[in-house]
Each structure stands twice: as C-alpha cells, then as structure tokens.
C-alpha cells in the first residue's frame, strides 16, 4: 500500500456513493460519502511535532485506543482499524493530519472523538465562517447550513431568549440557488449566519471528472464524485488556507522576549482583539462558560473582576497546555498568547464566538501597515 493505492481505493469508492449527504444514515453500508478530517496534533509538552515524533505520537494514540496499525510503503501514511472502522492517516504534515475513511459516519466519528478525548493534544480544525465561504467560492455553491445558537453561552435563567428573533437560527439548504437564499438570509439575520457547512462542486471538463464536497465547521469533508484527485485538491487548498491562518496568528500574536547580552531585550508580538459588533448580553455568563474547562472551549482560567464590566483572566488552554491571558469587556476580548501558544486556540475561540455570540465577529490580525 502506498499513496497511489490509497487514491485508487478511495477513487473507486467515491464513484459508488450517494450524493445526498444529509441522508447518509439511510444509506446501505458502503454507500455513504467519503469522509476526510483535518486534525491538529501536538506533543504532550505542547511543542510541535516533527516526522519522527508524529509517527511515535500516532502509534502511541493508536495503542492506547486499541486500534490496529499497518504501515505502508509511504512512511507518512498509515492504515488504522478497529472492528469495522478503518482510517487512512496521512501525517505528511506532522502538525496537521489528514484522515480519510469510508466507514460509517457515526462509528468513525465516535472513534475519532474518542481519540481526541483520549489524547487532548489532538484537536479538530476550527475554520472560521469566512474561510469556509472562501473555500466554497472556489467551486460552484450547492448548499449550506447555518447553525447559530446564542443561548449556549447564556445562563439557564435566560432561556427565554430562545424566543427572540435570531437568538437561535438553524437552516440547511441544498441546491444550485444557494447564493440567492443566502442573500435573503442576510436581510433577516445578518449577525447569525454562522456556517456549519458549505457544499460545493468542482469539475474538470477535459478529463470529465467532478467532485461534490461538503466542508463543516470542524474541518470535516464529505465527498462524492468520480475524482479523488479533485477531492484531495480541495482538502489541500483548505489545509493550506487553514495552516496559513494558524501560522499567521502564531507569528504575529505570540508575545515573547529575546534577551540581549548586555541586559535588556526585545519584546515581540501583539495582543489580538476580537470586537463584539453588539455588546455581550450577559458578560458574567459568558465568562463562566469561557473558563468552564469544558469542550468546546477547553479553557481553564482565573478571573479577576476589575470593574463591573471588565475582567482580566489568567488562563491555560487545556488543548495545548499553553498559557494565555484575556481582557474582556462587553465590547471586546483581548488575547495575549504566550511564546508557545497554539493558533488553534484562537481559531477554536473565534469559531465558537461566531456560532454563539455573533457570526460577524472577525479576527483582524495586525498587519504592518505603516512604514517604519
């Protein structure tokens, strides 16, 4: 087995699957779409993986979860199986792993979820809404899903908010008129368009090949069509964009110092500011959720209430174990990343803010816009 064999197997499988992804559970076994996941991996000490440590990490996780591992002729490609569930793990990029499966979606996601739980230094990719739309825009739009729920970060006593317009917006559309529907939705719920899925098609008329891909908010692709090449191109484009986003965050926003021999030193890095287009409804409830230690945010934090409407937080990202600090007001959140902080922490936070606070929240990474 090598990459070419894998492409042949997955390509053959793609041709036989049903394109109605949302009805996957009704499909007979082996007719569900091909699933491809992007996971981000670290070493337990929070440092980056290299090829050797990525292999060791993968084997360690597989051993702990009792998965059988088969090596291939490609030293960055592995086959993992447990019962009837099988995966191809592509760790060519030691940090961002690509995982393909033809197995049943429920069983494979249960197993992947268990791996992420078992080994907390694995995390999903958390593409922001606008990045998902950019990826969709590279093909022909065929559908989308919006999943916005403001009640998740509010106290139970505020559950009456569910009756407010746009506090909860869930919408799924499939068809070639996706953009028309989106324009309509923009009019009614402009701040609740948190995309949880985008569906799009790409074709190559010369080779008469096509692919229909569906990308969700945790970096999962579902695919059907007749070309694994087109599918892996889509995955690769997404991976490239997402990795650039994460690396740019880490490059600009990790606050770190460098000593000079004679004392003193340089202090590099910028805090990141996420502005809330409208003030948070309940700052206390939001802070409680932020530092609850629970998924999806997975943040441990000591809260210092400076003013009634201003908090400072000493925090630890329980995914990568890195330290970070927050300043928080109803209008904005300022994040200070430590020297080893993971950009995925910011991506996870941004994604959840878009899904539960306001879908128009954007991360503007400070750029060098004034010549020095």
């Amino acid at each position: 087995m090598d990459r070419r064999d894998m492409a042949d197997i997955l390509g053959e499988y793609l041709r036989n699957v049903n394109v109605y992804f949302d009805r996957e559970k009704e499909f007979p076994k082996g007719r569900g779409p091909l699933k491809t996941y992007v996971l981000e991996a670290h070493r337990p000490d929070g440092d980056s993986l290299n090829h050797e440590s990525a292999v060791k990490t993968l084997l360690g996780i597989a051993g702990a979860a009792k998965l059988d591992v088969r090596e291939t002729r490609d030293e960055t490609l592995f086959q993992l199986t447990k019962g009837e569930v099988g995966f191809f793990f592509d760790i060519l990029d030691p940090r961002f792993w690509i995982i393909h499966t033809m197995s049943n979606i429920d069983e494979s996601e249960e197993l992947l979820g268990a791996l992420v739980e078992l080994y907390p230094h694995l995390d999903y990719a958390w593409p922001p809404s606008d990045l998902m739309r950019i990826i969709q825009g590279e093909g022909k739009a065929l559908g989308f899903a919006v999943d916005f729920d403001e009640t998740q970060f509010l106290a139970e006593s505020e559950s009456h908010l569910i009756n407010e317009p746009n506090a909860v917006v869930k919408f799924r559309f499939g068809g070639t008129r996706a953009e028309v529907w989106l324009n309509e939705l923009e009019r009614f719920a402009p701040d609740a368009l948190a995309f949880s899925m985008v569906k799009f098609a790409r074709e190559d008329q010369v080779t008469r090949s096509y692919i229909i891909d569906e990308l969700n908010e945790r970096g999962r692709f579902k695919a059907a069509g007749n070309s694994f090449d087109l599918h892996i191109q889509n995955v690769s484009r997404f991976l490239h964009s997402y990795r650039s986003f994460i690396l740019e965050i880490e490059d600009v926003a990790r606050i770190r110092s460098r000593a000079q021999a004679a004392g003193g030193g340089l202090l590099d890095g910028e805090p990141l500011v996420l502005e809330f287009p409208r003030p948070l409804r309940n700052l206390n409830a939001f802070v409680r959720e932020l530092v609850s230690c629970r998924a999806p945010l997975k943040i441990w934090g000591l809260v210092d209430q400076v003013r009634e409407d201003y908090f400072q937080i000493e925090a630890v990202d329980l995914h990568t174990s890195s330290k970070l600090r927050f300043d928080l007001s109803p209008q904005y959140m300022r994040l200070y990343l430590g020297p080893e902080a993971c950009g995925n922490t910011v991506a996870r936070l941004l994604r959840n803010l878009q899904s539960h606070v306001d879908s128009t929240i954007k991360l503007e990474i400070p750029a060098e816009n004034v010549p020095a």
């Binding site: 003193g264 000591l302 400076v306 003013r307 000493e314 010549p371 020095a372």
Partner: protein, 324 residues
Amino acid sequence: MPPDEPSPTTGLQRDLIPVNAVIGFLKRDKKWPSVLYQLGYRLAMIEQPVSAAAVGTAEIDVICLNRKRNHGMLWECKSGRTIEERQARVYAAVNAEDVQRTGNVTFPHPTSASVEPVYCCLEADRQVIIDALAGWGLTFPVISLGERAVLARGQFEDPDATECFSEGITLPPLEEVPRFLIANTHTPKWRLAGAFFATMVSFLRKQSGTFSLRHMLEETFPDWECMGTDLRRYLSSVAREIVNDLCENELRDFARIGKASHSPGDTLVEFTVDVLGQDASTRTRTFQKLLRLAYGYIERSKEDRPYEPTRGAETLWLPGLEPE
C-alpha cells in the same frame, strides 16, 4: 519604594500603567491608540541599561526607534511620584552613540543619529515630575496619562510627535491598558499568586513531570528575558515562596518539591498525578477543582493567613461566576 496610592482595582497595579501604555503606543492594538507606531516608531528595547560616559548608567524603560528619521526616544515611565536626579542626569547625557554602543540598538545612520529622553507618568503625578525636572534645569518632554495622553511639558525633537501629543490623544479607561508587563519589584505576592498558579496548571497539563523555578518564571513573564537583575531576584524569591507553600498545602495531592540531581540547590517541582490518564469528565472535574484551589490560595495570600484544610474553597468563587 511602594507606589504612593494603592490601585483602586484588583487589575493591573497602578505603577505598571505608564510603561504598558508606552509599549501599547508602539503596538497595533485596536483598543489602545497606536500613536507612536503610526508616527513610524518601533519598539527597539525594553529595560535596557545604557551608560553615558562620566555620568553613569540608567535602565531605560522603553527605547523606540524611527528609522526614517534616524531618531530614537528613550522613555522613562514613572511608576509614582518619586523621581531620581541621578537617573534624570543620565537620561539627559545619553547620546545616540551611547545607545548604540551600550544599549545594542542599531541606527540606520549611526553618525547622524539622534535620541531624546521622554518622561511618562500618570496625570496625578505630573506636577511633581515637572517641578523636579524644572528644578534640575532639564527640559525633557513629559507625557501625562489620564483621560488623554497629553504633552504636559516641553517639546519633542520630532515635530510630528509634538503636534500629536499637544492635541492630546483620547485614551480608554487606564485599567484597560494592554498588559505586556505584569510585575515589578513592588508587586505583592498575592498579585503574583494567580499567575504562578496558572503556570503550574499549564505544566501539570503538559505532563511535564518536573519543572524548575526558572522554567516557571520564563513561562509566567513574557518579559523575563529582558528583566533587570533586581526584578529577577525579587520574582525568583516570591516564586520559590509560592511554590513551596502550594506544594505543602493546596497542591499537596498534585505536586511535591524535589531537588535537581545536577544542581541540588535548585528547586524542582515533581508532579505526583497523571491528569491525562483520567477519563474526560474526571479530568474536567480535576481542573475545576484546581480552579477552586487557586481562588482559595489567592484569597489566603491576600489576607496573609496560613492554610486551613477545612475551609471550603467552593465559597470563594466570584459572585455570579460560581459553577452551575
């Protein structure tokens, strides 16, 4: 010397506001004016000792450089109303050559480079600073921080900076200043307790097994590498005290003090639990317990009282932030 007035809040201590404000002016924070950044200045060095021949050495709080103008600003950020004549005389005497040679700053054109000292203080302290400088015959510009950052005295050599600060720059409430530097030699133990506790949780989560005091200090303070000797010594001593206290009390079920085999004098902390070996919900509960212990420890440090194992940490949550 401790600051003259206690901070009205539990946030960043008052005497750290000026230095963070100036660093903030040099960064691109959307909620703090980037006035020096916009004028083309970039942060070159913090807490940098610079010597002027025959006058002495001073630790310059912030050095920033405008490459186009071939000009540097040397910021002294006053943490209170105290001002030293000897230090001010060094600031006055330092030239670009001194900054380049003893401060390790590279100017684009060394022979024609220029520098100027600037003092920055809180509005409440400005008159004391202005009077002292005037009394010594020194004409440095003074920036005062209140609702606005204003040029309270003198002029910059850079006319654009003079124009900008003369008009005054509207500031957010000062407690919202970006927090680049979080400690100085006046920072009390209780203010550092939370930051050190968080670092220990981060190490526990990393499955570090053991960690040294130095590692903890580097992780806790982004500016550790730039700090002067006195501050490092002070923070090391507080860190040692906190770690010993925690390992004997609040964190006795999690960690203990060991000795580094290669350097028996160094403090080494060993973790005695494997958090990652627990299932997900037990792990979450463990971290929530650590949160309660941390609040309890901060409260105890603030009140300077001994550990009481029976005291319920659950009662120490901030009102409205209790776990549901």
